[in-house]
Amino acid sequence: MSIVILRVAAALYACATAAYIVYFARPRHARLATAGAALLGVGFLVHGAAIGVGCAEFGGNEFFSLRGGVALMVFLVAGGYLLVQRFYRLPTLGAFITPFILIMLLPALFGTPGNPELPPETLRRPSLTLHIMTAVGGVAIFAIAFGAAVMYLLQEREVKGKKFGALFLRLPSLDSLDKLVQRLVRLGFVVYTVALVAGTIVATQIWKSAWSWDPKQITSVVVWLLYGILVQLRHNGWHGRRYALLTLAGFVLVVGSMVTLKVVPGVTRHAGDYGANAPTELRP
């Protein structure tokens, strides 16, 4: 059932993407941007319903699989973008975010969802819910920052290269993109920090050890450090191109590690492989 609702949400996202892209090509039709935002909003709500129904169906387990996790992240990216566009008038950002949402969601639309074999009761604790929500939320915010950084670099190339083409006219000013990237990085870092703290609590409770050299833990800390450095650099007055490039690198690392750790079987004790790899440790 949830997969059907999810497909409806994906269709709405596709329409929003189309509206934003056409808007990007023909910025004179400002209504397209409004339509894109509205479609994205409805898609977001439907997606929320899909997640709700999915939780009822599979007990929240699907978030432990790559497809479920990605679907949740995409959900938060959409919500995050809807929030951003309330405060910043940057409709062109939609043309960068919505295709990303759509592409990330595509794999989740096929195959059977969830993993009904794994309802580890020990995992049902608030700290874990917080850990998952903030981790995915932080990554979602980093994703939007990534989109804004891509826009920054594209616009930077236009402005620097004196081309003044179609992109030059459509993209917002470098300064507004720079500020947006910086704010998103800062916010994402805060949320991600909460995720690490919650994760440590969960690990202490379930694995009896806060740190177990799990690859997921290592990459998470690396990502956290990287974004922490970004926040600190900004504090020291770093601006411009280098900052955007680092933001880009940070997100590539996030997505790269996420995918790698999911694709290589048994490499981490996190997520869906958890029960299969360490069933004995589960029992307190």
Binding site: K162, L169, N236, R242
Partner: protein
């Protein structure tokens, strides 16, 4: 179109040199007086005068263009050699093109529409522009709006200082809380600094080798003068640097910028070099977050704007053409309506007469309902009979075919006033039949009103 034709007599930057244009150009009260004179001239029904620094154009709805020509020749005898005269659809097209900025010196510039609107306002206030010009001008404004929204003719920047503003906007958004550095006392520099100040810059810092000229310039642009020796520090402070000194060498070198960027922690800086020979080392642009532009770069933007606008002008012309045709068709339709009014009026009069005659003879034998039936029958015959020709006439008129209306007028012996051939003199038409359709200034308004019931009846 009616017997009174619209005529345009005018001269513009394309046809006349400035010394002729300035002699006939009018503003304020002089313009109002001139319009009143035109309006009172013999044979002139309505008048409109568009007078800007690039053109003076007189539009009249009149029997001929004599009065409009006199407007020019009485003010400057030699203007006669530079005049262009257009009539009918040509004149309509011209006004639409002018309003849409297709005839402007700078293609796609935005001021002309406001100027035509103002001209219409003045003519309207002077009671010189009536229903015809109201309709014509509104259509012209609508056309201009369509052109502006449906094409990119108004897009891009056409002057160097505007280019500078646009570049800075794309880098900084606005300049709130930022400062502009003006180095050197070149004239273009001061102009650009002023244009940039419109983006809300906090301060303009001025520096110059000669302190006297620098201080004077600072006063002129409302800035603060700083000593030339501070240039390096100023680069760390300002976000936009406009450089236009007379120096034959690079005033800003790569080393200076590299140092400044370090101090700025790579906050972006925009360098605008307006000097020839150049004052900013092109190698500065290699540094990250330094955006440097010279005169050529800015000129290229202006050039490409002009090219793009020329391309868009083709699309704009198509819109204008469609609007001109639509306007002409509308006029034709309106022109056909008086024939219909006459035809129906006459038919209804006959029906009424015949019904009365019948009722006078047999009415006594009928009850109320019977009498109403007789009247209704007479009306029904009229409606049924007139329905197909009414529809056909409207169709023909809408497709620009005035011949059918003429034929109907001929066939039924209806005076061929407004609906008739275009060359029929208006005065003669008004004399023959004092029909509301042709008797007064509202020649286009009234048939439309009279046409109201016509449009409803046949559907009953």
């Amino acid at each position: 179109m009616s017997a009174r034709e619209v005529f345009l007599v005018g001269l513009s930057h394309k046809s006349a040199p400035i010394d002729v244009r300035e002699r006939v150009a009018l503003t304020g009260d002089a313009l109002r007086d001139a319009i009143a004179d035109l309006r009172n001239a013999d044979g002139v029904h309505e008048a409109l005068v568009v007078s800007t620094c690039n053109r003076v154009e007189v539009y009249v709805q009149a029997g001929d263009d004599a009065a409009a020509r006199r407007f020019f020749t009485s003010r400057s005898p030699q203007s006669g050699d530079h005049l262009y005269v257009k009539g009918g659809v040509e004149a309509v097209r011209h006004l639409f093109r002018v309003s849409s900025s297709l005839d402007s010196m700078v293609l796609g510039e935005q001021q002309i529409l406001g100027q035509v609107k103002e001209a219409y306002g003045i003519a309207s206030a002077a009671q010189a522009a009536g229903t015809f010009f109201s309709r014509l001008c509104n259509r012209a404004f609508a056309t201009a709006k369509r052109v502006r929204t449906e094409t990119d003719i108004g897009r891009g920047t056409t002057s160097m200082s505007q280019v500078a503003v646009e570049l800075v906007e794309k880098i900084f958004g606005d300049l709130k809380g930022r400062s502009i550095l003006l180095a050197g006392a070149g004239k273009m520099g001061a102009l650009s600094a002023k244009a940039l100040a419109s983006l809300g810059a906090d301060r303009i810092l001025v520096t110059n080798r000669s302190p006297e000229r620098g201080a004077a310039l600072a006063e002129q642009v409302n800035g603060h003068f700083r000593d030339w020796a501070e240039l390096q520090d100023l680069l760390a402070e300002a976000d936009v640097a406009i450089v236009s000194t007379g120096a034959p060498t690079y005033v800003l070198t790569r080393e200076m910028l590299a140092k400044a960027m370090k101090a700025r922690r790579h906050r972006s800086i925009c360098l605008i070099d307006l000097a020839v020979p150049r004052n900013v080392d092109p190698a500065c642009a290699e540094l990250s977050d330094v955006y440097a532009y010279d005169v050529d770069d800015m000129q290229n933007v202006v050039q490409s704007t002009h090219e793009a606008r020329r391309g868009e002008a083709l699309r704009a012309e198509a819109i204008v053409e469609a609007e001109v045709m639509a306007f002409a068709r509308e006029r034709e339709t309106r022109a056909a309506l008086p024939v219909l009014v006459h035809l129906r009026r006459r038919a209804e009069a006959i029906a009424r007469q015949e019904a009365e005659r019948t009722l006078a003879r047999v009415g006594a034998k009928l009850d109320d309902r019977g009498r109403r039936s007789v009247e209704a029958m007479a009306q029904a015959i009229v409606n049924k009979l007139l329905h197909p020709p009414t529809a056909r006439l409207k169709e023909a008129a809408a497709s620009g075919d005035g011949a059918l209306a003429g034929a109907v007028a001929e066939l039924f012996g209806i005076p061929a006033a407004d609906p008739g051939p275009r060359d029929a003199p208006a005065t003669a038409a008004a004399g023959r039949e004092a029909a509301p359709a042709s008797a007064d200034r509202g020649d286009t308004e009234q048939p439309a009103r009279a046409g109201g019931p016509l449009e409803r009846q046949p559907t009953r």
